[in-house]
Symmetry: C2
């Protein structure tokens, strides 16, 4: 354990200890059978229910201290645990039991002309360093996904949730001991020293990937300091483009759902684009539906002329992830202009077109360079659960390694397994 | 173009110009049909043959200047082009024509219960910055693989090959114009200013991945400076472990092939491990075969006692990629000790076991954490061509994104394409 006021050398040593222990655990965890990992998940769920009152006590300390950290009411609500919320955490673990084990999946295989049998087989990445903020349920979710995919995990939550996270971690660790998982498979960084994150980000011999989940400044800091690969989850400036040929009733349902159903999440729409040829009819109709839902509209000059309630949008508006009931709106010349706008202002996350025109749909799909391109449905569907991946550890805005929702498979690598009968190369 | 003695600001500006042009080209190249990319490959091959004498003239200037750069005879031989070598470069391009286009491949697809059609579709990564040394044939190979996979490429070869690379690049660019590829799809950095590489490595908005191919110091510099993902190709400290139950005739053929067939490459064996129970019989027999091929042996004390010609190995020997007719040798207690040695001293590249025992083979495969784990065949098979990937741009020693041989598919990402009929999320 660290002292209360650790020196830089002590922090570096503590980080190396965590890393080395995770690396050793990962080597053993890579060959732990699926049944054993599932036993740990089930035992963790059962223990969470048994220990609910301890967890709630710990959480109450965090909630009491939250105003001192400057958390607002919404953030305190996210931090707060209840018996019902603990039940949901336990059920989430039980749902991960049901997902297929990604480790050992034969991705492809063949027999070469020389008789060599070659298989590409999924294996864990190794050690995941997961950095997150606030919500304590993430502690259990992330540990479950990492361990189920055969990875050792080092968890580093926010200081606001430290007592809750420690209580949850005790449960996960106790279940790990009972089900004989390797020591060090799950570790929580029990210090909120900021520089400790920096020390861990240096350890590329021990950590195979870092996953930061939180605000943009956290992710930017991690990207700047990490010496290992990072799965990034940057902002979602998502668009709905209503094409000339769109069914306007469908378009209205989609843009309302994309903006309003859960405005704080990354796959919510932030910008509505409308083809000029239909703007005069479409915009007042779409705007009416949005305004009825309490959405503030910020539009280009044409939008403002057609929708008196809209305020003028600035250049910055079109680059902004509001995370709130605010929507930027723009009239565009045509599909080409819509695609160009999305390329220039979007964040390559999730973009949708509403259209009845096959050629327009195909061009949009081909030319919009986003993790998910959606025809005639809400942007809100870009989600691990909705895509059938099961639980997700985040939605990657990278193109490298994993793009879009990251579930169990995205936490794996692969190796080539070759069987011969004495073949040599000529 | 750059001036002869560019300022830092001019270099930064030149780098940004290259990057921005590549980014624009990549957006268009992503939707260029396969037939057009193949037309470019075929035209390039034809033009290479037509322009052979120009290319040879340029190459002669590099070869003449080579001793001034301190190149030894072997390096000058690798640099030197001949009519026959140009023909081989042209044929390599024609072979890439025959490979399936990775862009648009549907990796998986399903219809969700709500009727949403979801497809995971392969797309190019975007812009590849490829840094390499010496051999000019790499210029054509790398450009071909990048463009066939839909990526724009910025090529930066070694100063020793600059005239040859420029001559090859002129051909590739002329073919690109004739076949109407986007301007900027292929660019060569026509300056050998070292700091220019640093400027390019800063441009993560323009470059999606950097691939360095060359010595360890080049790769380490790129890893340290790059702000975008890097596909690394570190050293191959590859092992052949001869198990207690091995067929010794097979083992001898495999270790000789793995060491001798092409000692300079990364999948050549550098270390032989032998189970103690058979060492007394096996080691002299294996050593005899290796010594007859002119291999220098550096062994542990037991090896030296059994093989008088062996010199004592140091700790460093076991971590060394000789790239030459030298082999370290060690007697190990058992399979467990062999796996531990490989984990400690190896480079996670390619490791082989020779065994007749199923349980030993399965444990080796599961517990050795290398890009390729091989049972009863030579390590030399870890190769894109041998694995059926076609040509390769390198062999990744990473676990992230791509592991082992990197062909066309490893130069791609994917996007989720979703078709709905108005679905919204409840």
């Amino acid at each position: 354990m660290l002292s209360a006021t650790p020196t830089a050398a002590e922090l570096a040593e503590y980080a190396r200890t965590l890393g080395a222990r995770a690396r050793r655990a990962s080597q053993r965890l890579a060959v732990v059978p699926g049944a054993q990992k599932n036993a740990w998940l089930k035992r963790s769920a059962a223990l969470l229910r048994d220990r609910a009152s301890d967890i709630l006590d710990a959480n109450a300390r965090d909630v009491a201290a939250a105003p001192g950290y400057g958390l607002n009411a919404a953030a305190i609500d996210r931090l707060k645990l209840t018996v019902n919320r603990i039940e949901l955490i336990a059920r989430a673990l039980e749902e991960i039991v049901l997902l297929p084990d990604p480790v050992g999946e034969v991705v492809e295989g063949q027999i070469r002309p020389n008789g060599l049998e070659i298989r590409k087989v999924r294996v864990p990445l190794g050690v995941v360093f997961f950095i997150y903020e606030s919500r304590p349920n993430v502690t259990a979710d992330a540990a479950a996904l990492c361990v189920k995919s055969g990875n050792a995990v080092i968890l580093r939550g926010g200081k606001e949730a430290l007592h809750s996270n420690v209580a949850l971690y005790e449960v996960l660790r106790e279940a790990a001991r009972e089900t004989d998982l390797p020591e060090g498979a799950i570790q929580l960084v029990e210090s909120t020293e900021r520089s400790l994150v920096g020390e861990l980000l240096r350890l590329r011999d021990y950590i195979d990937v870092t996953i930061p989940r939180g605000g943009k400044s956290l992710i930017e800091r991690v990207v700047a300091e990490a010496t290992m690969p990072v799965i990034k989850h940057f902002d979602g400036v998502c668009h709905v483009y209503v094409d000339e040929s769109a069914d306007l009733v469908m378009a209205r349902a989609i843009i309302i759902n994309a903006k309003v159903q859960r405005p704080s999440v990354c796959n919510a729409a932030e910008c509505l684009l409308v083809h000029r040829a239909i703007a005069k009819t479409a915009l007042p109709y779409l705007a009416q539906g949005l305004l009825e839902q309490g959405v503030e509209l910020r539009g280009c000059s044409e939008t403002c002329a057609l929708v008196p309630q809209a305020k003028p949008a600035t250049e910055t508006d079109y680059r902004t992830e509001y995370g709130d009931l605010i929507l930027s709106v723009k009239v565009v010349d045509d599909l080409t202009a819509a695609i160009a706008h999305i390329g220039e202002y979007g964040s390559h996350h999730t973009d949708a077109i509403v259209t009845g025109d096959l050629a327009a749909a195909r061009r949009f799909i081909g030319e919009v360079d986003s993790a998910a391109v959606i025809v005639n449905a809400s942007t809100r569907f870009n989600d691990g659960g909705e895509f059938g991946l099961g639980a997700e550890i985040g939605i990657s805005t990278d193109k490298f390694h994993a793009r879009g929702p990251c579930g169990l498979r995205e936490l794996t690598s692969y190796k080539y397994v070759v069987f011969g009968t004495g073949q040599i190369r000529g």
